[in-house]
Amino acid sequence: MKNISTLALVSLFFTSVACAQAPVFTTLSSSGKDIFAGVKLEAKGMEPETYLLQVNKDLTSKKIALPTELAHREVIALFPAEKNQIVVMSQRTVEQGDNPQFHSYNPAKKEWKKLAEVKCMTFAKLKVEKSAVTVNCLETNEKGDEVETQKKVALKDITLTQPGDISLPLAKVEDKSVKAELVGDTFEWKELKVGVDKKEKVFRP
């Protein structure tokens, strides 16, 4: 009898483990000094939970909690900025996308600041400038055609350090001696492989 109840308990445990979905990485960036990656945990019936993972050059990592207003939004892109700051582009991606938001995070002060919002549900290409990001927005119009429009967002007093064109999803970055790559099926990346000089380490969310 005891064996049966133990078995039942074990099977219950495995059922609940099977229902919970493992956290995945959603994007990454490298400032040359630090690697930042977005993490999302999406369990059925639950609000998605998100946070940032910061990996330093000495290959140690720490979690950075997002402010309450961002906790259920997916981190879709990260832009390194001056003064070791990071700009987080986030979007609610459940059922349908909402307007992406830009927030800056200052690790020294542990301070979050909302910078801007762009009225664009879907895009895959971005142009990063020193103090602005342009989104190549795709919209289906009333005629049923998909049209592309460029929407530029100014990021207040923030200066981005890596201008250039980006195609999303971004799963690999290389910057001087730092290499980082998301490993696994696209959008289900379960590992972050970071290489600094000749050292390499794999991180899991």
Partner: protein, 267 residues
């Protein structure tokens, strides 16, 4: 003896192996749903494909597309689309009036946005509703968020609707996820053991690819089932409370519930 064993084994395995769509060797029932429409150009194309492929589906329409109701001449072709959906065996559900994230709004606004489409669509709606962004339908570890979600779900229930979420979110609206949509959807059908699949009939990309996706699902051996296979209540008519203002509990009571929880947290 060994030979008999292998023959028996192959007889047992073979019939399943022919339709071994999923790693577990099984195939599953699925139901396609389309949010945010109707779109005057794209929705008829969706209906055409569904008819040709014999796929009963559900359209979660936005009430704002029917502002002014049947009295507004501009709505005539939209109502004609609803008639066609019904005639061709599809279900029509409410996606509320405006596409807003309900927990971010007051109880009064939530109630208004849920109730407003019902008189405009009463001849068409099944008692099923899908909240935009799923907002309010999830459980949250944050008590404040959970209190707001409870308020939204109570409003949905009091209005006489069953909330219908989804088992498989295709992210068809998301340009960066589009290249992997089909393999991800097929994988998710297996992971979730079938279920309700979410699309948008206002996306050109979806309409352009719908037929291929349907055929891919069929090739895997999965079956298309009507909404009532998953939500039996979908076959029922819209209950009277959906259009009766008085049957709702007073807004103040709902507001008070949220305020009490907020106050408790503050303390």
């Amino acid at each position: 003896m060994k030979k008999i064993f292998y023959i028996t084994l192959s007889v047992l395995i073979l019939p399943t192996a022919t339709h071994a769509a999923c790693p577990d060797g099984k195939t599953y029932p699925v139901h396609f749903t389309f949010d945010d429409g109707p779109h005057l150009i794209l929705t008829p194309r969706v209906l055409e494909i569904l008819k040709e492929e014999k796929v009963p589906s559900t359209f979660f329409v936005l009430g704002k597309h029917f502002a002014g109701g049947k009295g507004n001449a501009a709505n005539k072709p939209k109502y004609a689309l609803l008639d066609r959906m019904k005639k061709e065996g599809h279900r029509i559900g409410s996606h509320t009036y405006e596409h807003i994230n309900h927990p971010q709004f007051s109880a009064a606004k939530v109630k208004e946005n849920i109730m407003k489409p019902n008189p405009l669509l009463k001849d068409y709606l099944s008692p099923v509703l899908r909240l935009p962004y799923g907002g309010g339908s999830f459980r949250s570890s944050n008590p404040t968020t959970q209190a707001k979600n409870n308020m939204v779900m109570k409003t949905v229930k009091d209005a006489g609707f069953t909330h219908v979420g989804w088992d498989i979110d295709t992210n068809d609206w998301d340009a960066k996820k589009r290249p992997t949509l089909l393999p991800t959807m097929l994988k998710d059908i297996c992971r979730q053991k079938g279920g309700v699949v979410l699309f948008h009939d206002i996306q050109k990309f979806t309409v352009d690819n719908l037929r291929d996706w349907i055929r891919a699902v069929k090739r895997e051996g999965h079956t298309f089932e009507p909404m009532e296979h998953f939500i039996p209540r979908a076959a029922e008519p819209l209950p009277p409370e959906a259009c009766e203002e008085d049957s709702m509990k007073p807004v103040k009571a709902l507001r008070k519930e949220v305020d009490d929880v907020l106050e408790m947290i503050k303390e």
